[in-house]
């Protein structure tokens, strides 16, 4: 059996295969639920209800989608230039760390801190990715390895800070930082609804990245460098500069995920701030075929699966691990669906 590229994507493949992938996910999730002793036919309803069945559920999904939009955009931007940024997790934590530092250590007070924290976070995330990319363009060090390893370094570093200088004295011994003042938090978009401005910022970022990619000279340069660096260099495109700019952009976007989680939702920094948003961002970007607006859709979809299965597992009294397994299944099916949209299987 071999894979062969299809000459042109048909509508049936483009729409049918993702639908099949969703159906497959539902079947597997139901089987898992059945193994755990729940009624498989009830579970689908519970997933949908949990993800979008009520105003609360829907807002919960959008809240969960917010960091994924940022990390998804970060990955989409970098991958376009064939810059393999696997370190969105580290950049996210760098953003979160600087948000907390500015918010709690500089003696700022009131809403004026909100934009300052945001800018600080972006700079931190950008610098976080700049280091591996400088190593790449100067010394040829593989960024897949360095950005991946930075995730662990960053997590251990945060752990050290939370056990030491940043530890909340009122935190009953938990490794967590002091919380931001209430008036330093990102406000809710609509008063009374649990959805903060981080989500709106994510949408704006997606549109801006889309404009950057399709309308600006930098976007053109990024694509050219990603598709054929030799031809790009010959045509006078400064490859190193383009890669460094891409790194700043990608790192900054990932850091906004940390900023929006701290300033919009959690208020403080803990070691479980991100349940792998940085890594899931890779999947989000791939599902969106690296298209910035597609990232928004796929981030909401992935968040929906998270939130829906989570809620289902509680309602049907099955272990919450089923949520993780269902999501993993969804991602595998989706990746397969994307593959089969562009390739067909040939015998022989």
């Amino acid at each position: 059996m071999r894979l062969e590229p299809v000459a042109s994507r048909t509508m049936a493949r483009t729409l049918g295969l993702p639908a099949l992938a969703l159906a497959g996910t539902v079947v597997v999730a139901s089987l898992l639920a059945m193994l755990a002793g729940a009624n498989p036919f009830a579970t689908l309803g519970l997933i949908l209800k949990g993800a979008a069945g009520s105003k609360f559920a829907l807002l919960e999904t959008l809240n969960r989608a917010t960091p994924l939009i940022f990390t998804g955009l970060a990955v989409a931007v970098a991958f376009r230039a064939k810059l393999w940024n696997i370190g969105a997790e580290a950049q996210l934590y760098a953003g979160a760390l600087v948000t907390v530092l500015i918010g709690t250590k500089l003696g700022l007070s009131g809403p004026v801190a909100i934009p300052i924290m945001g800018v600080g976070a972006v700079i931190a995330g950008a610098l976080m990715l700049l280091v591996p990319v400088i190593l790449k363009v100067r010394l040829g060090v593989d960024e897949v390895v360095t950005t991946l390893l930075f995730n662990f370094i960053m997590l251990l570093f945060i752990s050290m800070l939370l056990e030491g200088p940043l530890k909340d004295p009122m935190g009953m011994g938990w490794p967590k930082s002091e919380a931001l003042d209430r008036d330093m938090r990102l406000p809710r978009i609509v008063e009374g609804l649990r959805l903060h401005w981080g989500f709106a910022l994510g949408l704006i970022a997606a549109v801006l990245v889309w404009i950057l990619q399709s309308r600006t000279t930098l976007g053109f340069e990024i694509r050219a460098v990603g598709l054929n660096p030799n031809a790009a260099r010959f045509a006078g495109i400064p490859i190193r500069a383009v890669l460094l700019k891409t790194a700043l952009l990608s790192g900054g976007l990932a850091a906004l995920a940390g900023y929006s989680e701290v300033a919009g939702l959690k208020g403080n920094l803990t070691l479980d701030l991100s349940p792998g948003f940085g890594y899931t961002g890779i999947i989000v970007a791939m599902l969106a075929l690296l298209h910035p607006l597609g990232v928004v859709v796929s981030a909401i979809f992935v968040a929906g699966v998270f939130v829906g299965t989570d809620s289902m597992s509680r309602a049907a009294e099955v272990p919450t691990y089923i949520a993780d397994m269902a999501l993993a299944t969804a991602l595998l099916f989706m990746v397969l669906a994307i593959l089969l949209t562009n390739f067909r299987i040939v015998r022989g």
């Binding site: 062969e4 000459a7 309308r215 600006t216 000279t217 930098l218 976007g219 053109f220 694509r223 050219a224 598709l227 054929n228 030799n230 031809a231 790009a232 260099r233 010959f234 045509a235 006078g236 495109i237 400064p238 040939v346 022989g348």
Partner: protein, 511 residues
């Protein structure tokens, strides 16, 4: 001896039609290949030769028509079927694994994946026999990367023969060969045909077609426009069939050169990987003059081109532009200084395959108005520029939004030429500008270069084809092992004298 029975038909194409959008790449093409003959398939770039072969090999599915091999229908769209039926193809760009040996490359893909070991002994014996029978001498344990282009081609042919090919298709087989290697290939083909093989020889080099083929099939714009016995035709008639009008190679009239636009003074560069460096190269490119660099490829021409194109910076010595020494040198600096560059490799360096014609057309000029203003692209303007190039330089394509990957080599080259010329260059680097092009595109490119010279440009022409150098150049330099001979004015050296220099003889006292 008159043949008692007509030779059998090895391969038969009937009414093959293939459309890509508005473009009909193959329009109802029918012909037959007889057993034991060499059939030449002749046509310009974009005439539909490659599409036809892709259909035969199941890479594309024809919209209409069918393929028969030895009387059996070939199922459409099944790449394995042609191989199994005994059709072997030697591509223009070889498909060999560089870091494996000749033997491994031939065995690759002939052994099922689940077999844990490789039976090298039986394979070796068979391959040695084939190599002897067909006069294809090649060392079976040599790594591919150590082989010359001619040897690699022999491996490709052996690969096909090893898989019991009875029909051999060669796509532009001589484009990459030296004349001696081409001669050896012809001998091999004659042996093969003598043993009952049938050969389709795809080419646009007329004298080769005349020398090797028994019959000729000519394609133009996707249609079959002629089928003649080689003995009943001549080069001129074939050329006319190919391009549809009488053609003549351009002759460049002598010109009065102007001032020196670009000078290299005693420039040296260390070798880089397998590329020969430069030692003490001195060169002057004058306005209204074509300076030709003759030489066997791989003698430093690539480095010289990089130097003029902005990709390389001299390790010692100096570049002077318009009389002033150059301080910062890069592709961008070269472009800004009015150097237009036609690179040697139009696929990997001159264009980006997955970008559209529009995007490729502005690849060097996207940063300037009107293509972009303060960092924002004006794609409508870029598209207009691409459309202008397509119209002015006769680029045949479905439209400006087509990915350039889908264009034939000649049309790709015309787009690159257009991109260079539209920028109004004062200095033009033309590195192998017509390699692999058919007569129509070749003449076209050469005429544009001569025209640019008339408008005052200083042109550096690098080519392995001595005839081309002699036809176009006002001044000829010879390159050998990284050294550059002094310039010889048109007609002051014979072909033989230049040939001796190309071989590196008498270099030190050539001045």
């Amino acid at each position: 001896m008159p043949s008692l029975a007509p030779p059998g038909v090895a391969l038969k194409l009937t009414g093959i039609t293939k459309r890509f959008g508005r473009l009909t790449a193959n329009d109802s093409i029918s012909f037959a290949l007889h057993e034991g003959e060499v059939l030449a398939l002749l046509g310009e770039n974009g005439a539909g030769k490659t599409t036809l072969m892709n259909i035969l090999f199941g890479h594309y599915t024809a919209d209409e028509g069918k393929v028969e091999v030895y009387g059996e229908d070939l199922p459409p769209g099944a790449p394995g079927a042609a191989l199994k039926a005994g059709v072997g193809m030697v591509h223009q760009h070889f498909t060999l694994a560089e870091n494996m040996t000749v033997l491994e490359n031939v065995l690759l893909g002939t052994v099922p994946l689940w077999r844990p070991t490789l039976d090298r002994t039986a394979g070796r014996a068979r391959l040695e026999r084939l190599s002897r029978e067909f006069g294809l001498a090649v060392h079976l344990d040599a790594k591919i990367k150590a082989l010359s282009v001619g040897e690699r081609q022999r491996v490709e042919i052996l690969k096909a023969l090893y898989r019991d090919a009875r029909i051999l298709i060669l796509d532009e087989p001589t484009a990459v060969l030296t004349p001696q290697e081409a001669q050896a290939l012809f001998e091999t083909l004659k042996t093969a045909v003598g043993k009952g093989l049938s050969v389709i020889f795809i080419s646009h080099k007329l004298h080769e077609v005349m020398a090797i083929s028994k019959r000729v099939v000519v394609l133009r714009h996707g249609k079959l426009v002629g089928e003649v016995a080689t003995t009943d035709t001549n080069e001129r008639q074939l050329a006319e069939m190919m391009v549809g009008a009488e053609v003549a190679l351009p002759k460049a009239p002598a010109a009065a050169p102007g001032e020196a636009y670009l000078e290299l003074r005693d420039v040296s560069l260390p070798p880089e990987g397998r590329r020969v460096g430069l030692s003490g190269v001195t060169l002057e490119l004058r306005s209204r003059q074509i300076t030709g660099i003759a030489g066997v490829s791989g003698n430093g021409q690539a480095m010289l081109a990089d130097l003029v194109g902005g990709l390389a910076v001299p390790a010692s010595g100096e570049i002077r532009l318009y009389g002033k020494p150059v301080t910062a040198w890069s592709p961008r600096a070269a472009l800004d200084a009015g150097v237009g560059r036609i690179p040697e490799d139009r696929h990997a360096v001159g264009s980006i395959a997955d970008l559209s014609l529009t995007e490729n057309a502005v690849l060097e000029s996207y940063k300037t108005a009107p293509q972009s203003r303060s960092g924002l692209m004006d794609w409508a303007e870029a598209r207009r520029r691409a459309e202008a190039i397509i119209a002015r330089y006769d680029v045949r394509c479905p439209g400006p939004e087509t990915r350039i990957r889908l264009l034939s080599g000649g049309n790709m080259q015309k787009l690159i030429l257009g991109r260079v010329m539209e920028a109004g260059p004062r200095i033009i680097l033309a590195n192998q500008p017509v390699r692999g092009l058919d007569i129509g595109a070749l003449t076209y490119v050469q005429e544009r270069l001569i025209e640019a010279r008339g408008e005052g440009a200083a042109i550096l022409l690098i080519s392995e084809d001595l005839d081309e150098i002699l036809a176009l150049s006002d001044v000829v330099h010879v390159m050998s092992e990284g050294r550059l001979s002094p310039g010889f004015a048109r007609g002051t050296k014979t072909q033989g004298e230049l040939g001796a220099l190309m071989a590196g003889q008498g270099f030190d006292d050539a001045a």
